[in-house]
């Protein structure tokens, strides 16, 4: 039972989503599906990051108003790690940017060859 806590479970979910994402990215021929795979992969990574910042039984790293009124306060004993959360914000936005770019590519690739099969875009090889 030692391992059944939120941290372990979400870490496991994160890893499994990453693996599923890789599975999708590597097996699907359709470019949109590949991008979907990446999106799942990214979600998995994000879950991973957040769960690594999780501290058992602690609250969000926000000094709520009630406490705040009394001035600065050392909350290190009561909050989860804020750093991974900050990182994951960045990661999500980056992931969005990349996804948008990939989709733009997908659109233009489709326009060029009227297909979304990735193995048709092998003009450059060897």
């Amino acid at each position: 039972m030692e391992y059944i806590d939120l941290g372990h479970i979400s870490l496991l979910i994160g890893f499994l989503l990453i693996l599923v994402g890789f599975w999708g990215v590597l097996t699907q021929k359709n470019i949109i599906k590949i991008i979907v795979g990446f999106s799942i992969l990214n979600t998995g990574i994000n879950i991973l990051i957040v769960s690594l910042g999780y501290v058992k039984g602690k609250t969000a790293p926000i000094i709520d108003n009630a406490v705040a009124q009394t001035g600065y306060h050392d909350v290190s004993a009561s909050v989860v790690d804020p750093v991974p959360q900050a990182l994951v914000l960045t990661a999500i936005v980056i992931g969005f940017g990349v996804t948008a770019l990939m989709l733009a590519y997908a659109m233009k690739l489709y326009k060029a060859k009227k297909t979304l099969e990735i193995n048709k875009f092998n003009d450059l090889k060897w």
Binding site: I18, F22, V25, L26, K29, I31, I34, F38, L41, N42, I45, L48, I49, L52, V83, P84, L87, T90, A91, I94, G97, V98, L101, M102, Y105, A106, K108, L109, A112, K113, I118, N119, F121, N122, D123, L124, K125, W126
Partner: protein
């Protein structure tokens, strides 16, 4: 000092502001972008110069007013300043080059370009690993966008594959980073180093993921299909920036991050680097597409840099120097080549012949290619030298082999390409346009390469001793290339005379060097005199000829092994250019270059081994090699033998010499080959005569020499091409020399040296004469000549004297060598080799007779009835040389006695005794002058008698012969020339089977097949590329972290 944060602020400020400023037009925004890059370059330069020339200490830039590890900090140190300078400078030049392409895509593209550079800068400077991730994403997204500067499906496919690949990579990087944070509680690089991440339980996997992601950014073989597509698919100007700026930044990131990985990773970095270097260069040989080929080369160079990085603990203080040399050469040369490829606009290699329509492009292209391969005076030469020296010293021979093999492969495809550019058919190709903003960056990097080369040399103590004066003279001739031949020829001759005059005092007393310097310089001057026969400007001839002589004299003057190798490579470069000037000499030039480079690498390895355990680089370290001396001498000699064209390494020579221009053939045959001999002499002196422990090596060399003599002479018999015949003859003659030297006795060396001088004299005469004849009659084929004695008697006399001397028939000088040889053979006891040598000599009669008969005797062809005597400018050197031959024949003691004294330094036993003009050996005696007089007197007596009795001899017409009762009407039918030695061929065809060619063909085929098979990996499918990446990661994981 402007703080480096302004690099970021400038780029972002300008980039964001362009959103509202774009109503001023694209020229304005483009100018703004360039101005921003210029300012960024200025910032980096300011820091760099403060580090380089001042005593600036590395400075941390803290953001947010907090100290790391709380906040993100940037570091501006010496290397950071240099690398950002490189990035921004490449960005600036690239920005100028791509000004129009960016403009056509609008202000958005201009902004993206600017931000990409900013991202690269931050990647270099940041000390925070997550920040690194963010800005790596910035730059890779920007790159993925800028690929689209080139329109069409190809570039779109490439861009998409690039995004897919970088997404996978950054995914792994992110997982690695977050685990690294989890285990260390910090994101700061320095903090992670302090925390010893890879030592923490579980930290190794985090390190693995970070490292593998950063290594994958460098496009390691074979997980690099996407990288190749990027180079091939994008705009040429942009490929240049990727190759120069982006790859440099990624490389620096690796060097920065590997600190957290710790030393146990270094080996694997080197291993991946080596695999990449060898693998991508091997695949490069199959490439027909220029950009892709350059992509392979870029990736290979990065692999080499990775390899070096992995050795940084072993290389110690030398690491920055080596990295600098290789990086800067790759940076400038590759950018230059990509830029040229954008101007020339030819996809296939063969289309590059069009470059000749603007000849100065050849200079640029040559500069870049030679810099990439590592020829002097470019930085990579010095870096590669130092690298090999250090690696050998630390006992890493296997790595040296990998490096040299990879470099060799790179040379294969680059020179093949260069060959197409120089010699390919370009009639039907459409000329290309030059835009000024595109050519300026190319010129800047080209000139930069030379400047950098000079400075690289100055960095080291041993490099600073190199004499750059001859090279400066080459530069002068290059600048004066527009002048007519006679002016340049005079300048060249005057320069060589002056140089010889000034160099003479240094060499006085050193007979050995004096002999070779004499052959190189005086021979060079004589051969140059023939140049007056040419009309026009003869573009490009003088710089390369002088380049060769500069190299030759460099070899002689070399006080250090570096100088020697420097001279050797200059000579190789010069002679390569000389050789490929011939009309059909392209394939031969290539094989010459490849054998030369292979030889040079053997030499490099040999010199490296010689350096082991000795603190100096002085030339005499090869006299006392301590570490695996057998290998060292073997490699050295093998290297030198590529130049003497010993059998097995000779296949380049016949074509190269045969197809060269008329006055080039004597240069490369009579003169150049002696450089190899000089090398062999040095190596043998190194092996030492006393208590020689290398008898097996010498024995093998002896057989090699004898077989070379036999093969060369035999093959010469069956040639139809006069110059090829002489070329094969040179192979044979060099075989004699090697054979003589290999005996390692006084007489053997005397024989060898007498051949050195003799071969120089008569081969120069023969090649000059035949070359001049070829110029007159316009064909090399002997069966198309005939009867030319009537038209050019002086040439005939020259050839006759030449062949009598060469065949060794008394009384001319060739007999000297033969006599010495037999005595040496008897003394040494190498009877069978001696017999083979002797047989080769007899075979020589056949080709010599054929040479003179089918060209000068027999039936004069109708179309040659009006040819003139060969040019006076050829006759002058020819008859000067003949005078030398005659002096040698009449007074051999004048030459042999000093030679004997010189050789006695090394081999005091078994000297000849001179009784006046009579040489007395243990076995017999011979008196050159007396024999000459006796034969002369007899000849004159008989001649006078004949003249007295045939006073009324009347001259008859050409066809006044009876021929089976018919009278021939056409000369061709009665000229016995084609396949003249059919009988001998039927008896000896077995010995003419081209085993060596077949062997090398097989080697080439195996390499090509391997490359062709392996590159099928790059199926063009982006998904497969992702799979490669994942495979690469997992396999590396299993290898490094283990099961």
């Amino acid at each position: 000092m402007v703080t480096p944060i302004f690099i970021v602020a400038t780029a972002l400020g300008a980039g964001f502001a362009i959103g509202v400023l774009n109503k001023f037009g694209k020229n304005f925004t483009g100018g703004l972008v360039l101005a921003a890059i210029t300012f960024m370059t200025f910032i980096s330069y300011q820091w760099f110069s403060a580090f380089q020339f001042g005593d600036q200490t590395p400075e941390y830039v803290y953001t947010a007013g907090f100290m790391p590890p709380l906040s993100i900090n940037l570091l501006m140190g010496h290397y950071e300043a240099f690398v950002t300078l490189l990035i921004n400078f490449a960005g600036l030049l690239g920005g100028i080059y791509m000004f129009n392409s960016l403009k056509n895509r609008g202000s958005n593209a201009q902004v993206v370009y600017l931000i990409m550079l900013m991202g690269l800068n931050v990647m270099v400077m940041t000390r925070d690993i997550f920040n690194l991730f963010v800005f790596m994403e910035v730059s890779s997204i920007a790159i993925a966008g800028l690929i689209l500067l080139e329109k069409g499906t190809r570039s779109m496919g490439a861009g998409f594959k690039y995004i897919l690949a970088t997404s996978i990579i950054s995914g792994f990087l992110l997982i690695g980073i977050i685990f690294a944070y989890y285990f260390t509680g910090t994101l700061n690089l320095d903090g992670m180093i302090d925390a010893n991440l890879s030592g923490i339980k579980g930290g190794a996997v985090a390190v693995f993921m970070i490292m593998i992601a950063i290594i994958l950014e460098l496009k390691p073989f074979p997980a690099n299909g996407w990288g190749l597509d990027l180079y091939e698919g994008s705009n040429a100007g942009f490929s240049a920036v990727v190759s120069a700026a982006s790859a440099t930044a990624s490389f620096f990131v690796l060097s920065k991050v590997m600190d957290i990985a710790g030393p146990e990773w270094y080996y694997y970095i080197s291993l991946i680097g080596a695999v990449t270097f060898v693998g991508s260069n091997l695949l490069g040989i199959k490439q027909e597409n220029t950009r892709r080929m350059l992509g392979y080369s870029s990736i290979g160079q990065l692999g080499l840099l990775m390899l070096i990085l992995g050795f940084r603990d072993i290389l110690g203080d030398q690491t920055p120097y080596i990295v600098f040399g290789i990086l800067i050469s790759h940076y400038m040369a590759k950018a230059g080549l990509f830029w040229i490829s954008g101007i020339v606009k030819s996809k296939g290699l063969k289309g590059w012949a069009v470059i000749r329509k603007k000849p100065f492009f050849l200079f640029l292209m040559g500069t870049f290619i030679f810099a990439l391969i590592g020829f002097p005076p470019f930085p990579s030469f010095f870096a590669k030298w130092t690298l090999v020296m250090e690696l050998v010293k630390t006992g890493n021979m296997a790595w040296v082999v990998a490096i040299l093999f990879g470099s060799m492969m790179e040379a294969v495809y680059l020179f093949r390409w260069f060959g197409y550019a120089i010699k390919g058919e370009n009639e039907h190709l459409e000329d290309f346009k030059i835009e000024i903003h595109k050519i300026v960056p190319v010129w800047m990097v080209a000139i930069g390469l030379y400047v950098m080369g000079y400075f690289t040399a100055q960095f080291t103590e041993v490099g600073a001793e190199i004499n750059f004066i001859p090279l400066a003279f080459v530069g002068l001739l290059l600048a004066l290339d527009f002048l007519p031949v006679f002016v340049k020829n005079t300048i060249a001759i005057a320069g060589m005379l002056a140089y010889s005059y000034f160099i003479y005092p240094d060499l006085e007393g050193d007979t050995l060097r004096l002999i070779f310097e004499g052959i190189f310089m005086l021979g060079g001057i004589l051969a140059l005199i023939a140049g007056y026969a040419y009309k026009g400007t003869r573009a490009g001839f003088y710089p390369v000829a002088i380049l060769m002589y500069a190299g030759l004299t460099g070899i002689i003057e070399a006080k250090t092994t570096l100088e020697f190798f420097y001279g050797w490579e200059l000579m190789t470069a010069g002679s390569y250019f000389l050789i490929i000037r011939g009309k059909r000499s392209m394939p031969h030039g290539l094989s010459y270059m490849l054998f030369s480079i292979g030889g040079a690498y053997a030499l490099l390895a040999g010199l490296g081994i010689a350096h082991v355990g000795q603190d100096s680089f002085a030339m005499d370290i090869i006299n006392n090699i301590q570490y695996i001396p057998y290998w060292a001498y073997g490699l050295l000699i093998a290297g030198f033998l590529t130049k003497t064209a010993a059998v097995g390494l000779h296949i380049w020579l016949p074509g190269a010499h045969g197809e060269a221009e008329s006055d080039v053939s004597p240069m490369v045959s009579a003169i150049l080959l002696k450089a190899g001999v000089f090398g062999v002499v040095l190596a043998l002196i190194g092996m030492g005569a006393e208590n020689n422990q290398y008898t097996e090596l010498a024995y093998a060399l002896g057989w090699l020499g004898a077989i070379t003599a036999f093969v060369g002479n035999l093959m010469a018999i069956f040639q139809e091409d006069a110059k090829r015949l002489l070329a094969y003859s040179s192979i044979g003659q060099l075989g004699y020399i090697v054979f003589g030297l290999a005996m390692m006795t006084h007489l053997g060396w005397l024989a060898g040296f007498s051949y050195v001088i003799n071969h120089f004299l008569y081969k120069a005469v023969l090649f000059l004469t035949i070359g001049a004849v070829v110029m007159r009659v316009g064909t090399h084929n002997m069966y198309e000549m005939g009867g030319l004695i009537k038209r050019m008697p002086l040439a005939f006399v020259a050839v006759m004297i030449g062949i009598i001397a060469l065949s060794g028939v008394p009384p001319l000088s060739g007999f000297t060598g033969k006599w010495l040889f037999y005595n040496a053979v008897l003394e040494k006891g190498w009877y069978l080799q001696g017999a083979l040598f002797s047989f080769s000599g007899i075979l020589a009669f056949m080709y010599l007779w054929r040479l003179i008969h089918t060209v000068f005797l027999g039936q004069l062809k109708d179309n040659h009835r009006n040819v003139k005597e060969i040019s006076i400018w050829f006759l002058i050197p020819i008859y000067t040389l003949i005078a030398g031959l005659m002096v040698y024949a009449a007074k051999p003691e004048w030459i042999l006695q000093p030679l004997g004294n010189m050789i006695a330094q090394f081999f005091p036993d078994g000297q000849l005794i001179w009784d006046g003009g009579t040489a007395i050996s243990k076995y017999g005696q011979w008196s050159g002058s007396l024999i000459g007089m006796t034969i002369g007197a007899t000849f004159m007596t008989v001649l006078i008698w004949l003249m007295l009795s045939t006073r009324k001899a009347h001259k008859v017409k050409q066809f006044d012969i009876t021929y089976s009762g018919e009278r021939p009407e056409r000369p061709e039918t009665t000229h016995v020339a084609y396949n003249a030695f059919e009988g001998l061929y039927k008896a000896m065809w077995v010995a003419t089977i081209p085993l060596v060619e077949t062997f090398w063909d097989r080697v080439t085929n195996i390499l090509h097949d391997t490359a062709g098979f392996t590159r099928r990996l790059y199926s063009g499918n982006g998904q497969a590329y992702m799979l490669h990446i994942v495979f690469f990661i997992l396999i590396t994981y299993l290898v490094i972290i283990g099961g």
